[in-house]
C-alpha cells in the first residue's frame, strides 16, 4: 500500500527549507520572503525493506530482505533460506536451534539480553560471547549516512524513517528524491 506524505518546500533568498505538511507553512514563511513555495506530495512505496546478510556454517553468505518489525527467524522462513534444523520451538524461546553469532560491533548495538534468552543459549552448540537468539532480534529501519543529520531538524523522525535518502542541495530549488519516492506535484 502507498502512503501519501505532504511536504512544503520553501525556497528563500539565502536558503531552502523543507517542512512537513501544511501546518508549518504559515510559521515557516512568516518573517521570511519565499522566492518559491512548492507543496510536494510524496507517495511512498511501502517496500521499505532492509537487507540482512546471513553466513551459514559452511561460510556461505546469503542475502535476504526483511520488513521492519520482522524477527530474523521470520526472515529465514519468509525468504525460504536454506538452513537446516532450526526453529524447533517455533520461536518461543524454548530451544537453542536458532542462534546467531554477531560481529562485536553489531552485538553491542543490540538490545539487552534477558535471563530467559541466556538460559536457552547456554544449551547452544557453538556458543560464543556474541551469540544471541535469532527470534529476539527485530529489524530496525535505519537512516543511512549524513542525510539523516541534515534532515532531522526539518522533519519529524517518523517521517524521515520512511525515506531511504533525501538529498537537498543548497544551490538548487528543487528537492531531489531517491528512486523509491515518486513525487506528485500539486
Amino acid at each position: 500500500t502507498a502512503e501519501r506524505v505532504c511536504v512544503c518546500v520553501c525556497v528563500l533568498s539565502s536558503d531552502v527549507c523543507v517542512c512537513p505538511g501544511s501546518s508549518h507553512r504559515a510559521a515557516c514563511a512568516a518573517g521570511k520572503t519565499a522566492v518559491l513555495r512548492l507543496h510536494v506530495c510524496l507517495r511512498l512505496r511501502s517496500d521499505n525493506k532492509v537487507t540482512v546478510h546471513f553466513i551459514n556454517r559452511d561460510g556461505e553468505k546469503i542475502a535476504a530482505k526483511g520488513s521492519p518489525g520482522d524477527s530474523l527467524l521470520d526472515v529465514v522462513i519468509n525468504e525460504d533460506l536454506d538452513f537446516d534444523g532450526f526453529g524447533a520451538c517455533e520461536g518461543t524461546l524454548a530451544c537453542s536451534t536458532c542462534h546467531l553469532i554477531f560481529d562485536d560491533e553489531v552485538y553491542k548495538k543490540l538490545g539487552p539480553v534477558t535471563d530467559e534468552e541466556m538460559d536457552m543459549l547456554d544449551l547452544a552448540y557453538g556458543l560464543t560471547e556474541t551469540t544471541r537468539g535469532k527470534r529476539q532480534q527485530t529489524l530496525k529501519v535505519k537512516m543511512t549516512s549524513g542525510t539523516a543529520e541534515f534532515l532531522k531538524d526539518s522533519f519529524t523522525l517518523s517521517l524521515s524513517s520512511r525515506l531511504s535518502s533525501v538529498f537537498l542541495s543548497s544551490r538548487l530549488s528543487l528537492v531531489f528524491l531517491s528512486s523509491r519516492l515518486s513525487p506528485v506535484f500539486l
Binding site: 529465514v76 522462513i77 519468509n78 533460506l81 537446516d84 517455533e90 520461536g91
Partner: protein, 460 residues
C-alpha cells in the same frame, strides 16, 4: 490456531517446504519398487528428525516409521512437562513429515513382538532403531517396591496421560516428598508437585492428575543427590522456574556450598550461570520484597546434597513408605568426574512419597540386535550399529538417555548422514528391490489379525 501459528504454517518454507513436494493429504507417492526403502523403529524426535533428514537429502528414499503405541511422538507427547507446551511445538514439523508422500507412519506395531528385526531387514534396505529408553534405572535398595515409591518415568507418564501409567493413583496425602536425582526430570516432578493448581489448570495435564494434585497435602519436596551443587544434571531454565515458583520458597543447607564461590571462575559459562543461581538462592539473603514473598509461601523445596539412598523405610505394619534412609557421602575429585564416597554416617528423612529420577534406560527388544547392557545402548559408530549391516540407531538408544530435543536433532542428522554416505558409496546395497510395508503389512495381518489397527495412522 493462533495467528502466529497460522503464520508459521503458511509462511513456513525452506527446508520443510522442500520436504513437502507431493503433500496432498491423501495418497502417498507411487515409488518404483527399486527406490531405497528405510524403516525407522520409534516415532519420537529421533525417529522423525532422522526421517526428515533422509527425505530431504534424497528424492528417491521412502521412509516408514513404526511405533509401538497407537500415537506418535514419544516423549514429546508423554515426557515433556504439561507447563512447557512450547517444547511440544516440534509436533507440528513432525506432523508435516508424516504427511509427506515419501513417509508413512504405522502405529500399534510392537517391533520385537509383532514383527522381528530380521523380518524388517528382509523388507527394507536399512533399519534405523530409534525407540529410545522405555525402562528406568532402579535405585537397587530395599523398600523400592513399597507403596508410595515410583519411578519418575511412571510418575511423569501418569500426569501426562501415558496409557500404561493411568492406574498409578499415587497417594499425595503426606507432607514431604523426596525426589532422588537432580536432573531436569527431577525438577519437573518437583515443580508439578508444588505448582499452584490454578496454573496447572491451564495446562494439558490429565484431569485425574489435576484432581489428585488439587487434593495433595504435599508441602515440602526435597531433591536429593549423591554429589554436590556443581554436579547437578539439571539446566538453568528449570532451576529458575523452581526459584520463581509462586507460593514456594527455597530451603537449602548452606554448608553444602562450601568452596563453591571460589570454584566459580573456572567454570564454563553454562555451568557457571547455573551454579551462581543456585548459590544465590541457597545462601544469599534476599531483598525485602523476596523476603516477604518467601515468608508467606506455603510450600518449600530444596536440593539436598551428598546423600545416597540406602533403604526406603516402611510404616510399621503397613507396606507403604514412611521415610528414607540416606547415607552421607563426600566428594572425591571435582567437576563432572567427581565421585561420591560414603562416609559411614546415615540420616533418616520422613516422607510418604519417593520418586526416583536417576535416569531412563534403553531395553533390548530383539536378540539379533547387538546391545551393550552395561551402558544400555546399542553399540554403534556414528549411528552405524557395530557388527551389523543395514542397521543403524539414533536418539537416546544411540548415545544414552540424556539430552534435549535439539541434541537429539543433531544426533539424528548424524545417523541420517551415515546412512546416506553408505548408500552413496555402495557400502549399503540399495539396488535390489525390496517390498517394504507391503510385505510387513501382510505379515502383520496374518500374525496379529485383521482387526488389529496397524494401518497407516491418519494424523488429524
Amino acid at each position: 490456531m493462533s495467528g502466529r501459528t497460522l503464520l508459521w504454517t503458511l509462511g513456513k518454507s525452506g527446508w520443510t517446504k522442500r520436504l513437502h513436494e507431493g503433500f496432498s493429504g491423501c495418497g502417498k507417492a507411487f515409488l518404483s519398487s527399486s527406490s531405497p526403502k528405510v524403516c525407522i523403529v520409534g516415532s519420537g524426535p529421533a525417529g522423525f528428525y532422522t526421517a526428515q533428514h533422509l527425505i530431504k537429502a534424497r528424492q528417491d528414499v521412502a521412509v516408514d516409521i513404526y511405533e509401538r503405541l497407537p500415537v506418535p511422538f514419544g516423549l514429546v507427547r508423554f515426557g515433556v512437562a504439561p507447563d512447557h507446551p512450547e517444547v511440544k511445538n516440534v509436533i507440528n514439523t513432525f506432523t508435516q513429515t508424516a504427511k509427506h508422500s515419501r513417509c508413512s507412519f504405522y502405529g500399534n506395531v510392537n517391533v520385537g513382538k509383532d514383527v522381528s528385526v530380521v523380518e524388517l531387514q528382509q523388507a527394507y534396505h536399512a533399519i534405523i532403531l530409534s525407540y529410545g529408553a522405555e525402562g528406568n534405572r532402579s535405585v537397587g535398595v530395599p523398600g523400592e517396591d513399597l507403596a508410595g515409591v515410583y519411578s519418575a518415568k511412571d510418575f511423569v507418564g501418569w500426569y501426562n496421560g501415558l496409557p500404561s501409567c493411568q492406574e498409578l493413583s499415587p497417594d499425595l496425602s503426606c507432607e514431604t516428598a523426596v525426589v532422588l536425582g537432580q536432573g531436569n526430570v527431577a525438577l519437573d516432578v518437583a515443580r508439578i508437585l508444588l505448582c499452584p493448581v490454578d496454573v496447572l489448570k491451564q495446562t494439558d495435564i490429565t484431569q485425574p492428575a489435576l484432581e489428585a494434585l488439587a487434593q495433595s497435602q504435599i508441602r515440602r519436596v526435597l531433591i536429593v543427590g549423591r554429589r554436590g551443587p556443581m554436579q547437578v544434571a539439571c539446566t538453568i531454565k528449570e532451576l529458575r522456574e523452581m526459584v520463581n515458583l509462586p507460593d514456594s520458597r527455597p530451603e537449602m543447607v548452606a554448608a553444602d556450598f562450601e568452596g563453591v564461590t571460589e570454584a566459580l571462575k573456572d567454570l564454563p559459562r553454562p555451568r557457571k550461570r547455573l551454579t551462581e543461581l543456585m548459590l544465590k538462592t541457597a545462601v544469599e539473603t534476599p531483598g525485602e520484597k523476596e523476603q516477604r514473598r518467601r515468608a508467606s509461601a506455603s510450600r518449600v523445596w530444596g536440593f539436598r546434597f551428598f546423600r545416597s539412598p540406602v533403604e526406603i523405610l516402611a510404616e510399621p505394619g503397613r507396606g507403604r513408605a514412611a521415610g528414607i534412609r540416606l547415607a552421607v557421602s563426600r566428594l572425591e575429585g571435582s567437576g563432572e568426574g567427581a565421585r561420591a564416597v560414603l562416609t559411614g554416617d546415615v540420616e533418616d528423612v520422613s516422607c510418604g512419597l519417593v520418586i526416583s529420577s536417576i535416569g531412563y534406560k534403553s531395553l533390548p527388544i530383539d536378540p539379533t540386535v547387538p546391545f551393550d547392557s552395561r551402558r544400555a545402548i546399542v553399540p554403534n559408530s556414528n549411528g552405524r550399529v557395530r557388527q551389523a549391516t543395514g542397521l543403524y540407531c539414533s536418539g537416546w538408544l544411540k548415545t544414552g538417555p540424556t539430552g534435549v530435543i535439539a541434541t537429539t536433532m543433531n544426533n539424528s542428522f548424524d545417523t541420517a548422514r551415515s546412512l546416506l554416505e553408505d548408500m552413496d558409496s555402495g557400502t549399503l546395497d540399495v539396488s535390489a528391490a525390496k517390498p517394504g510395508s507391503q510385505s510387513i503389512g501382510a505379515l502383520l495381518e496374518k500374525r496379529v489379525g485383521p482387526g488389529h489397527s496397524w494401518r497407516p495412522y491418519l494424523i488429524l
